[in-house]
Subunit: 414 residues, 2 copies
């Protein structure tokens, strides 16, 4: 391993002991101080970001990527507001998750504690640096960050503000650490820092996820694809179904909880599909034969279309025989993220909720609600599509684990 | 991948849909029927086991391993009793873990659901076959089992009883599947069945754990080493400390929650160590210089001794300066399993509980209580020393995950 990374890892482990047991007041104070520093250092921050932008532009980074990389005074204020919002949340650390007494008098408690060192690998949005650090510190963890090369100067400037915030609160600066070596090999070493990183959260595309699955030796939580379906049942209120499909597809098409596929019960297909097509003007529909018999102008959907998370104004459509066929289709093509049904029938709703295996099942509402803040978590680390540890929107609690505390008066085992 | 394993994987996925949504009554019925079948088939089971024993003995398997492999009528009755005990536990599936309403009227619930397919890799104790299958089925999961070559005939016979039990309850036989190809390559393929195995629980030694960390692509929960410490504080009741150290070390030395290291505050070392040494007669003590100044006859402890889980009647001993030094020693050498303090001082107890980072911290009781049944979980899958998903004793709940259910009346996101 590179000496630099090994040294950072040691500093992370060392700081974790103090951060984990620091009172929440000090951790909040650090976040609030960092928020102020980000705002008072807007000028230098913008200068660092301008240098990143210039270099990235020279290296041919695309327009969308440059936009994600770009900071302005508004975005810096939003980062500061994000730090303050996280500071205002309830501290997850110390929550007594459960407890009971045993017949021999032992008192058992399960108490929420920080994980220790949380690693985050992410791409070129500098605000992820402050968001991720805030969530980690709020939950008592060291934030061990590895951003992209293109955002390095911006990230360094943001991390310095966070570290200075920690100092002001009397906490070790190493509560936030940035890996400044952005080489490919270092990323690989980073995901193999077993014994240092207690949980790694990769925030990136499919290539990163696949590298994680193949090479990571540290525990991780994956934020995977969202190939989300909306099923319009025979008994659906079709006006409601129209509004929901428009919202789920078009309100923000580039995100993981947007709908990618519309399934319509055959008994209402002839009535609903023309309504939906009109309301979805500007969305490219791709349908099966039964859909195209009703909407003859649209493209044919291939198997691959049904398996695709478009993240764009494209929607695959299929007419299904019944609820069972809808569930079978979702089982085959869904990615286990968010699946919705529109129905007035109680039994259909109950069966859909029970039989669809996804992080979130939604009845008579838009898939777009499957999100940490919309569901009431305050802030989110991501949306897990895995089943272990965390599933669905991940809030602060998902950055903690539980310690068993057993208290006795000298009990020994017989 | 071998065609046989691929076919088994497909059968596991297919059965998982039915098992996950089967009512708990049917799953319990299957366990009870299997318990009866194990007992009525005691003769053929013993014959299968005798064939395993004969072959293993011919291949030079050691006495202890042969004993673990051996079945007799009592052990078969114990397996049946285990199935009935698990059937009698509360079903974890369907538990509403939490729920609330959102300002827009959305109703949010988090509901406990099965993981799907749980894989278990284990060694040559045939009772693990029925224990693991019982825990998986009780929690609504398919049990996908891979035992050792030496126990193959016994495992097949037990699995047939479990599968027949499933049939009797009207459930798919493939709720329990055994990988009969016990080759090394198949084990590797098994731990890479991503998309089939939702959680893999390896029950084996360090070599298996290391192979898992390096090669597994499926999610897993590790049951790691237990290098457990007992710290005798300055204020300890020394009679209590003596009884606890004897129990923690000798009541069952070969298990992970047995104590491996004794730390004694220097102020009580001269009084306590001779008491402890007398009470621990038959235990080999290995001490640091301060310990040997008090107990001159004992061996010197090396760094490696302090890092070793002896699993035998051997105990490393160190005299520590104070509570801080005890915590630092545990931080350095502990494996994050179970750590105990004996003290009468409230502040010492509180600091030990807060600052020691382990799955379980124990105050004034034996480490031997850190066990699923002793802590009230009914049955346990193992004791996790990892922090993600499950930490400490794992009961049925740790074989489940949580699904978000969101119900509305047509809400769309603004």
């Amino acid at each position: 391993m590179s000496a630099g990374l090994e040294q950072l890892a040691e500093r992370a482990r060392s700081a974790a002991q103090t951060i984990a047991t620091a009172p929440s007041g000090a951790r909040d104070e650090a976040l609030l101080a960092a928020a102020d520093l980000l705002e008072t250092r807007t000028g230098p921050l913008l200068a660092a970001n301008a240098a990143d932008l210039e270099r990235a532009s020279g290296e041919g980074l695309g327009t969308a990527a440059l936009d994600r990389l770009r900071l302005d005074a508004g975005r810096i204020a939003a980062m500061a507001a994000g730090l303050r919002a996280v500071a205002a949340l309830l501290d997850p650390v110390g929550e007594v998750v459960g407890g009971w007494s045993r017949p021999n008098g032992l008192r058992v408690e399960r108490i929420r504690v920080p994980l220790g060192v949380v690693g985050v690998i992410y791409e070129n949005r500098p605000n992820v640096t402050s968001d991720a650090a805030a969530l980690c510190l709020k939950s008592g963890n060291v934030a061990f960050l590895r951003g992209s090369a293109s955002a390095l100067r911006s990230n360094v400037a943001i991390v310095v503000a966070l570290r200075d915030g920690l100092s002001k609160a009397g906490l070790p600066q190493d509560g936030v650490l940035l890996v400044e070596d952005t080489g490919h090999d270092t990323a690989l070493e980073f995901m193999r820092l077993r014994g240092t990183i207690d949980c790694l959260v990769p925030r990136g595309g499919r290539e990163l996820i696949e590298r994680m699955i193949e090479h990571a030796t540290v525990p991780y939580v994956l934020d995977g694809d969202g190939n989300c379906h909306l099923y319009v049942d025979r008994s659906a209120d079709l006006d409601m179904a129209r509004d929901i499909v428009v919202n789920a597809k078009t309100q923000r098409p580039g995100v993981c909880n947007a709908a990618e596929s519309l399934l319509v019960h055959r008994d209402v297909a002839a009535e609903f599909l023309p309504i939906a097509a009109r309301a979805l003007e500007g969305v490219e529909l791709r349908g099966d034969a039964a859909t195209r018999a009703i909407l003859p102008g649209i493209l044919e959907a291939t198997e691959e279309d049904y398996a695709t998370e478009f993240l764009a104004l494209t929607l695959s459509v299929a007419v299904v025989e019944d609820l069972d066929a809808a569930i079978a289709h979702i089982r085959r093509f869904g990615s286990g993220h968010s699946e919705a049904i529109v129905t007035r029938d109680l039994a259909s709703a109950d069966r859909f909720v029970r039989e669809v295996d996804a992080a979130a099942v939604v009845v008579n509402a838009s898939t777009r609600f499957v999100d940490g803040s919309e569901l009431g978590l305050g802030a989110e680390v991501g949306i897990s599509t895995q089943k272990l540890h965390a599933r669905g929107p991940m809030g602060l609690r998902e950055l903690t684990c539980v310690k068993w505390v057993v208290r006795g008066e000298g009990q020994i085992r017989q």
